[in-house]
């Protein structure tokens, strides 16, 4: 029961992140808002799955995926924004 509530909380965070990529006109703001709130939702949903499943091989493997993707996610965002800045992408002043 607690696990289901945590899973729906994570879905709410992901939904706010999806709203965030349609709400702003500026690329840098979209990059800041969208992928980061999405990370919070990702962590919450996976913790919900672990709570619902209990401690066994399944939840240990899910924990491994969570730790690997926490290492990967900031690198991808950094790489995309750095590529946009070095290529000289000017954001409109709005």
């Amino acid at each position: 029961m607690i696990g289901t509530i945590i899973i729906y909380l994570g879905l709410a965070f992901v939904f706010i992140g999806v709203i965030g990529i349609y709400r702003f006109k500026n690329f840098y703001t979209r990059a800041l808002v969208a992928s980061k709130v999405d990370t919070v939702g990702y962590i919450t949903l996976i913790i919900g799955i672990i709570v619902k499943s209990g401690l066994n091989a399944f939840s240990l493997k899910v924990l491994l995926i969570l730790s690997i993707s926490l290492l990967i996610n900031p690198l991808v965002t950094h790489s995309v924004v750095r590529s946009a800045k070095i290529s000289g992408y000017k954001s409109g002043k709005e």
Binding site: N26, L32, V33, K36, V40, A57
Partner: protein, 162 residues
């Protein structure tokens, strides 16, 4: 002596990942896992880093776990503080330069990744001790004041040891 303790915890860590990927626990599998992790450490020292692994990535598992728990709380705090920007829809981000006084390369890498992982800030570029950060609501553009706001607690926690 400290070096042997470091290799011991590295072997334990690699064997745990090996056992998680197999999903079964027995003695035969543990022995194979220990031999394969020793082989991995030997070959990556010989061909990948050309030096002792201890000189490049010195870490302690318990301190790393404590830092990860601290980082999780920090992610949730700043994630909740960014939701009002999405609801009102008003933000004007800008680039800010900050300085860090950490010495080792691995510490600077961990600091830059932690800044990117907490919502609201993204590290764009690192040159030596100068970090260029994209911030959602820059109140100051002065390097020292902005540095305290962005990296204050993280840098203090990294200085205590990783």
């Amino acid at each position: 002596m400290k070096k042997y303790l470091y290799y011991f915890q590295l072997v334990i860590l690699l064997t745990t990942v090996w056992l998680i990927l197999f999903e079964t626990f027995n003695v035969f599998l543990i022995i194979i896992g220990i031999f394969i992790s020793l082989a991995i450490i030997y070959f990556s020292e010989k061909y990948l880093v050309d030096d002792r692994l201890y000189a490049f990535y010195p870490f302690n598992v318990f301190k790393l776990l404590r830092y990860a728990f601290f980082l999780l709380i920090e992610i949730y705090k700043s994630g909740l503080s960014i939701i009002p920007y999405i609801i009102t829809g008003k933000a004007n981000p800008g680039f800010v330069d900050i300085y860090t006084d950490l010495e080792k390369n691995i510490d600077i890498v961990v600091l830059a990744n932690s800044i990117t992982l907490t919502p609201g800030t993204i590290t764009v570029d690192v040159q030596g001790h100068l970090l260029t950060v994209l911030w959602i609501n820059p109140t100051t553009t002065q390097p020292t004041m902005a540095g305290i706001r962005i990296k204050g607690k993280l840098e203090k926690r990294i200085k205590e040891g990783l």
